[in-house]
Amino acid sequence: MFSLATLLYLSALLFSIGTYGVLARRNILVVLMSLELMLNAVNIAIVSFGRAHALTAFSGEHGGQIFTLMVLAVAAAEAAIGLSLLLVIWRRWKSIDLRQLCQLNG
């Protein structure tokens, strides 16, 4: 099996890729996908910690998994709302390019 450190490296890698995607891409769809990537990176970290500390953690054996399920649920909700907003934006402006959607500038 992999050690905790290896898993955390994986998580960090995924998180960095996600962050890069959020910051660098202009397509809202890709940004949302990158966001999912970041969430899942965090999920990996939580599960890994959960396994490493299973015996000492306050929440018992399955604390990490339960927490991850929570995050997945929230992420699903977020994706639903995000995609529906995306749809509205597409209908309204016929574009999902963030560069063109900066009407809140000062």
Binding site: T19, A24, R25, L104
Partner: protein, 663 residues
């Protein structure tokens, strides 16, 4: 507890309230009955109180109620005091006042503001009586300011004319300037005497303890406390009693109805400054330096006003300046320590100056409000009765024996003579000289006034010819009563060297007795009094004769003088009142207004509102503009900032943990 004293001022007040509220509805007859009746009742009450004082020999007192009263700290009651001095003053005010009320019935007939006029007049009586009866300085101050208010209202009585209102305002503000000093004097008294009761302020022992202290005033250095108090109170008096430098309001005050000029600006209100000095005689006596100042101001005012009176053509203006001049006399008397003479002159002046003003009112009334003497002349034929009474007043003021003015003026001049020549005081000698000269000038300009009005050829407007009639009724009666008073008033206080008892002086407690003097010294004093009297008779006589000559046969002499260099200069200065008004305007009034305007624009508008307030707003807005650019609306940009922030925080956290680990 003599509560009836309260009725003396209260009755006219009731008249004021009644006429002020209902006067419009109840008709002129009822208004006159109330307005004149109540002061007359006041007069009767004063008379009874006076009899009581004479019989019992002790003053009457009403304790009243606490007014400005903080237990143990400031205790100023509302209480009245009726002693000899107040008694005489009350009798003069209610007596002359009632006569002038009666006169006004005739004079003001048909005026649309009839009831208002009488309401104000009654209010004036209230305040004047309060001024006289008040048992402490502050209560006196109510009356003092109150009469100023009434004066303001009555000068501006015909308010449709802007000039009248301006005159009223000027009077009030000049008085306020004086009152400012008066108030400071009151503060000093209250601080150092601990009370404002007249009994304490005139208590010799208390005055001595206070007199030992000094005040340090910037520029002046160390000044005696009592001297400061007296000077401050005197400045208050210069406002009310029209002395240099605050006299300029009184001539303007002639804008009011003539009976008002007679009552307020001749007989009563303007003498309240003198009354104040008499009331506080021991205090004033304790400040010899201040007294010298008072004598000087008095004498100079007398001279200046007399000089101006030469050049006036408005009959009321002549009388006004003559009033200022006579008031100067009174203060000169105070200054040389002759309080009794000053007060005596207050009384006689009330008689003859009221008479003169009412006489001029009679002329003005007959001439349909023409006041310019150049358009009069020869009125002797149309107005014989007015002429006779006016002449009585003129001779009285000129000091012709045995009319009222002779006695009082002679006493004043003698007091100056005594202090100057017998006492060997140079200043008093100088001031006596000025006053002495003024006595002759008084006789001259008063005869000029009579001559221009009543004698010589008629210069009346042709339209008025044949319409000028002697006003009868109340006007005539009032003139008669006052003429008798002016003729005989002097006998109230015949000096001892003429075989009298100086009864007024003794009754009011102002006369300094001669008990300490030996027979011989008394003899010498009487001799000096004779000398002084002869001198004053001479100067008055020469003034009269010169005037008779100039305005009779010697017209050439007059013309030659007027056309000569000094004559022209004097004429111009006199006619323009020595440019004092202009001086005040350009030095005080206008600069003050300009500075206020400038301050409004510079400080309020530009500095505070413009720079500080709007500046702050502008700064906020500009800073906002600056930071607005950061709000690009480009979401990844925000996220980048966010991510950088998180990184910095993380870095700090790690750093912190590492240090924590090191511990």
């Amino acid at each position: 507890m003599d509560i009836h004293l309260l009725w003396i001022p209260l009755l006219p007040f009731l008249g004021f309230v009644f006429n002020g509220l209902l006067g419009r509805r109840i008709g002129t007859r009822a208004v006159s009955a109330i307005a004149c009746g109540l002061p007359i009742i006041s007069f009767l009450i004063s008379y009874r109180a006076w009899r009581h004082v004479v019989d019992v020999g002790s003053p009457q007192h009403w304790d009243g109620f606490p007014w400005i009263w903080i237990d143990g700290l400031v205790e100023i009651p509302f209480s009245l005091h009726f002693d000899g001095l107040a008694a005489v003053m009350c009798l003069v005010i209610t007596g002359v006042g009632s006569i002038i009320h009666l006169y006004s019935i005739g004079y003001m007939r048909g005026d649309p503001g009839y009831h208002r006029y009488f309401a104000y007049l009654n209010l004036f009586m209230t305040f004047m009586l309060l001024l006289v009866l008040g048992d402490n300085l502050l209560l006196m101050f109510i009356g003092w300011e109150g009469v100023g208010l009434c004066s303001y209202l009555l000068i501006g009585f015909w308010y449709e004319d802007d000039a009248n209102c301006a005159a009223g305002r000027k009077a009030f503000i000049m008085n306020r300037i004086g009152d400012f000093a008066f108030l400071l004097g009151i503060f000093l008294c209250l601080t150092h005497f601990g009370t404002l009761a007249m009994s304490a302020l005139t208590d010799v022992n208390q005055i001595q303890t206070v007199a030992a202290q000094t005040l340090t005033i910037p520029l002046l250095g160390s000044v005696g406390l009592v001297t400061t108090i007296v000077v401050l109170l005197f400045i208050g008096a210069t406002g009310k009693s029209a002395q240099i430098p605050l006299y300029v309001w009184l001539p303007d005050a002639m804008a009011g109805p003539t009976p008002v000029s007679a009552l307020i600006h001749a007989a009563t209100m303007v003498t309240s400054g003198v009354y104040l000095c008499c009331r506080l005689m021991p205090l004033f006596q304790a400040a010899p330096a201040a007294l010298t100042l008072i004598a000087g101001i008095g004498a100079c005012t007398a001279l200046l006003a007399a000089l101006i009176a030469f050049g006036q053509n408005d009959i009321k203006k002549v009388l006004a300046y003559s009033t200022v001049s006579q008031l100067g006399y009174m203060f000169f008397a105070i200054g040389v320590g002759a309080f009794s003479a000053a007060f005596f002159h207050v009384v006689t002046h009330a008689f003859f100056k009221a008479l003169l003003f009412l006489g001029s009112g009679s002329v003005i009334h007959a001439m349909h409000h023409q006041q310019d003497m150049r358009k009069m002349g020869g009125l002797r034929k149309q107005l014989p009765f007015t002429h006779i009474t006016f002449l009585v007043g003129t001779l009285a003021i000129a000091g012709v024996p045995p009319l009222a003015g002779f006695f009082s003026k002679d006493e004043i001049l003698f007091a100056g003579f005594e202090q100057g020549f017998l006492g060997g005081s140079g200043a008093a000698m100088l001031f006596w000289g000025i006053s002495f000269l003024t006595a002759g000038m008084t006789a001259f300009y008063m005869i000029r006034c009579v001559a221009m009005t009543f004698w010589g050829e008629s210069r009346i407007d042709p339209d008025l010819e044949g319409k000028v009639h002697e006003p009868g009724g109340w006007i005539g009666l009032s003139l008669l009563v006052l003429a008798i008073a002016s003729a005989l008033g002097g006998f109230l206080n015949v000096p001892e060297f003429l075989g009298g008892h100086a009864s007024l002086g003794h009754f009011t407690g102002l006369q300094q007795g001669h008990e300490g003097l030996t027979e011989q010294a008394l003899h010498a004093l009487h001799a000096a009094e004779w000398q002084s009297m002869i001198l004053s008779l001479l100067i008055a006589g020469s003034g009269l004769l010169l005037a008779f000559h100039c305005y009779g046969k010697g017209k050439d002499l007059r013309r030659r003088f007027i056309e000569s260099g000094p004559g022209q200069l004097l004429g111009r200065l006199s006619a323009n009142k020595f440019y004092v008004d202009e001086f005040y305007n350009s030095v005080f009034v206008r600069p003050f207004e300009t500075i206020s305007h400038l301050m409004f624009i510079l400080i309020d508008r530009i500095l505070i509102d413009g720079i500080l307030v709007s500046g702050t707003a502008l700064l906020t807005r500009n800073v906002g503009h600056l930071f607005r650019k950061m709000q690009t609306g480009f979401i990844p940009g925000y996220l980048l900032t966010f991510a950088c922030g998180v990184l910095v925080l993380l870095f700090m956290l790690l750093n912190f943990l590492r240090q924590g680990g090191a511990q």
